[in-house]
Amino acid sequence: MSSAETSTEYEKYYVPESSSLAVRATIGLVLSVFGGGLVLNEMTFGGTHDTGGAAKWVLFAGLAMFIGTLTYWFRTTIKENKAGMNSSQLSNSYVLGMFWFIFSEVMFFAAFFGALLYVRWLAGPWLAGEGEAGRMNFLLWEGFEYTWPPVTTPQEVVGGALSQPIANNGAFVSQHTSMSFADAQAWYAWLPLWNTIILLTSSVTCEFAHRGLSQGNIKKFEAWLGVTVGLAIIFLFLQAAEYYEAYEMFGLTLNSGIYGSTFFMLTGFHGFHVAMGMTMLLIQLIRSVRNKHMTPTDHFGFSASSWYWHFVDVVWVFLFIFVYII
């Protein structure tokens, strides 16, 4: 561990003098969420927050500033690195930072998986009057039977607004087909399976790229990285196709009760993370091709992106199991 020999390293720890990056990123972030809040409230709370359409410009301005600043921020750190200001100790801080950031993302997904499992194993059966905590529930939702994926919502079973005891809920449109593997479809037409294969493959190609880089074989690195990014794009495309199918053919929407809620929340946030990971990898590719930034010993940007990519991949595996298979 830390010992006296490495103390020369310690003397070089780079502490930037001062920087306006954080403040600018803050302004961008705050404008984004404030604009976003205004936009959302215009959508649902009727005219109560009618800002005459200005809301979305606040949002756009905020996002532009935020993304712009982050880009500039990353550039700055890259420049500093290239200028030799980073000690290996600082690199280690970056490694730790990325690792714990990914851990926090894991916990973010854990919340949604937790919700899924809770609803499937506990709340669903209770609603149908099964189990210790739900044995009288038939009084409220007479006729509701629990299955997963659900073919109906409790609300639908008991009918319209007046005959059900939950006030002020809009009607739900249930889906009548699930996104799990259904007999009616041929397996080879089942998109999630293809997506699983694609994403798993992309993790492997990403690893090939990494090996290429470690061997100093930049050509190999760039080629495999290119393949990885390509696979990511195909994944996103298929995901979009899947959503299209859900909305247009199965009537499965965000409003379709809990199945739609968990399905779109999990796959949606995952898809968003794939898009982020893809962008990160793409940027590394561009940096390598255009700026020759990658060297066998110094490529933290790529390493971090690849960890992120593997993380996204692992999340998908869980998703595939819990959302699509069982």
Partner: protein, 377 residues
């Protein structure tokens, strides 16, 4: 003005034990010395057991600390000793508390299992929380359920300090829950809008009312009397004004009460078929308004949480849109669908009232038959 009793209470805290209802959990025993519920007594004993264990441990810890503060002061010229480890004591004070905890867990477990023993109830009552009132529905084997709402009975004048407060300030309702003594009653607790919680301390029942789910709780009250409680889960603006009042009566009294309730329900249904006079409608409407609407729409229809009724375009405009608001509520707002909560006569009466009171002198009369035909479309 500082209350003298408050000062006395500060000085006499340890001696205040005789004023049980002010400083400690309900003992489960009535003032006359009768056990109210066995479970209540058990929970109280459990509470006191843990309390005394904590007191003893606390006295030990603080005693050692105070002695040390007294004896090991620098001003006394002591030399600090430098010990900083002792595996033996460290293990001891890990293990001993563990066993103390086991000692607490045993009675706690058995009491908990009793709390959860909902079977073999002799009657079941469906308790539904609404913003901000309770609905009680006696589930009857023959399907002749008796149901009614229970609203806060304390006047706005008392709440806004223009009238002296009564003894049961905020703890009184217009129609209490009535249950027979020495009968295992099962409560099926749920809610219609947000989460509420049904609590009566003296009979030791508290359970959350979750919209869309039914929770079970039970009691067997051994002593007749009136027991009061409140909603204990934040449920919106008037969460503090949602009391529970339970009257525990003898079996005979209960049967009479039940028969009277069923009779009244039948009379209400009959009333719906007759034409009422304007005065009758206005009088009944005022009662309904004060019980169900006043909290949001104000004593003079001036509005508050809800829109103003005085001069309201809806209350003075077309009857259908007025009935629509009252019967179906306004989705996404606090205005509930009262069609499911009030009888047709009451809807008719309150509609008539709103159309003629607070200076809304439309002169319209709405009969129950109008409401029925409105509901039928």
């Amino acid at each position: 003005m500082l209350n003298a009793r408050a000062l006395a209470a500060t000085a006499l805290l340890p001696l205040a034990a005789n004023a049980q209802n002010q400083v400690n959990m309900s003992t489960g025993v009535s003032e006359a010395g009768a056990v109210i519920t066995d479970l209540g007594v058990e929970i109280y004993d459990l509470h006191m057991l843990i309390f005394w264990i904590c007191v003893v441990i606390g006295l030990g810890v603080f005693g050692v600390m105070l002695y040390s503060i007294y004896a090991h002061r620098k001003s006394k010229g002591v030399e600090p000793s430098q010990f900083h480890e002792h595996t033996g004591v460290e293990i001891a004070w890990t293990i001993v508390p563990f066993f103390i905890l086991i000692g607490m867990a045993v009675p706690a477990t058995s009491t908990l299992l009793e709390v959860y023993d909902n079977d073999d109830a002799e009657m079941s009552i469906l308790v539904t929380g609404y913003q901000w009132k309770w609905k009680y529905e006696y589930l009857d084997a023959d399907g002749e359920n008796v149901a009614f709402f229970s609203n806060l009975a304390t006047s706005q004048e008392q709440i806004y300090n223009t009238d002296t407060k009564g003894e049961n300030y905020l703890l009184e309702v217009d129609e209490p829950l009535v249950i027979p003594v020495d009968t295992k009653v099962r409560f099926l607790i749920t809610a219609n809008d947000v989460i509420h919680s049904w609590w009566v301390p003296e009979i030791a029942v508290k359970r959350d009312a979750i919209p869309g789910f039914i929770n079970e709780a039970w009691t067997r009250v051994l002593a007749e009397g009136v027991y009061r409680g409140q909603c204990t889960e934040l449920c919106g603006a008037y969460h503090g004004f949602m009391p529970v009042e339970v009257h525990v009566v003898s079996r005979d009294e209960f049967d009479d009460w039940m028969a009277a309730k069923k009779g009244a329900a039948a009379a209400d249904a009959a009333l719906a078929a007759t034409e009422l006079s304007v005065d009758e409608l206005m009088a009944r409407g005022e009662d309904v308004y004060n019980a169900s609407c006043l909290a949001c729409h104000g004593a003079n229809g001036e509005g508050g949480l809800g829109n103003a009724i005085a001069g309201s375009a809806i209350a003075m405009g077309g009857l259908d849109s007025h009935l629509n608001v009252i019967v179906n509520g306004v989705a996404g707002t606090a205005m509930q669908a009262f069609g499911a909560q009030l009888s047709d006569v009451d809807v008719a009466a309150v509609t008539t009232y709103q159309r003629n009171a607070f200076g809304n002198n439309t002169g319209d009369v709405v009969q129950a038959s109008d409401v029925v035909s409105y509901k039928e479309g």
